[in-house]
Symmetry: C2
Subunit: 154 residues, 2 copies
């Protein structure tokens, strides 16, 4: 089965290359594609957070395969499969991040905490609803804190 | 730009039709596609929650367009754009839900709180990391509580 999708918007920001860390200072504009009307954004102000699904089009096809490797290629960390990691080299090249909405104006929204580089195509935007939050506390592998240490701020 | 994706797994469960409510009792199996090796799931036990991105292939193409309508077609609620709603009639037909991992066995995982019907193709699976949780409290429109009242349990 082949699934064909189209960008509904594009990311604009100052991060031109994929760098792992220090995303917090980056403010991104998400601008709707030409064929998506402004009314698609109507009512977003009712919500503080949105989930952005994006397509990491700069990932090379030969890297977009199932992985079984050390996170960040650090041999001190256990080898993990693709679906136990969030790194960008993965089948379908999909990225997903929860952002804070700063403002909306015409066909554009301004958001914080989006870890997508300039020019990235966006596939969907969904409001965060409390009913979809985890219903139990989050448990993560012990080494995650270490690799995420500088992800947002340096 | 056209983006071509392939299912990395499929959903198996007892929900054969798209119904809006009462998803909590549904336990789903997510089974990897033939071309995805079992090692892609290695290490998932280190995490309690996963985000599942799926393709709602039963949504008719003519409904997969930008919407501007009352949530659940209830005229008492304000009209909203596609990206201020999570309903299934949306461009690209993408679904996204945070699930709890119950167990892993071979090429299959068992999960709770997945609101996808039987046969749904899965496009990605990502572990929930604490660093990606919202960094401020979630605010949502006042009417959301009402429409989500029976979403999980009846």
């Amino acid at each position: 089965m082949e699934i064909k999708l189209r960008p509904i918007a594009y990311v604009q920001n100052d991060r031109k290359e994929a760098i792992d860390d220090n995303w917090e200072p980056i403010i991104s504009i998400i601008e709707l594609a030409e064929d998506i009307p402004e009314t698609a954004l109507e009512g977003m102000e009712g919500f503080s957070h949105f989930e952005i699904i994006f397509y990491m089009n700069q990932v090379k096809d030969e890297k977009a395969v199932p992985q079984y490797r050390h996170p960040r290629n650090n041999p001190n960390l256990p080898k993990l499969g693709t679906f136990a990691q969030r790194n960008k080299s993965r089948p379908n090249k999909l990225g997903l991040t929860t952002v804070e909405l700063i403002k909306r104006e015409g066909k554009r929204i301004w958001v914080k905490y989006l870890d997508a580089i300039h020019g990235t195509p966006v596939l969907d935007i969904k409001p965060v609803l409390k009913a979809f939050e985890p219903k139990s506390s989050i448990r993560q592998a012990a080494w995650v804190d270490e690799i995420m240490d500088k992800y947002w701020s340096s």
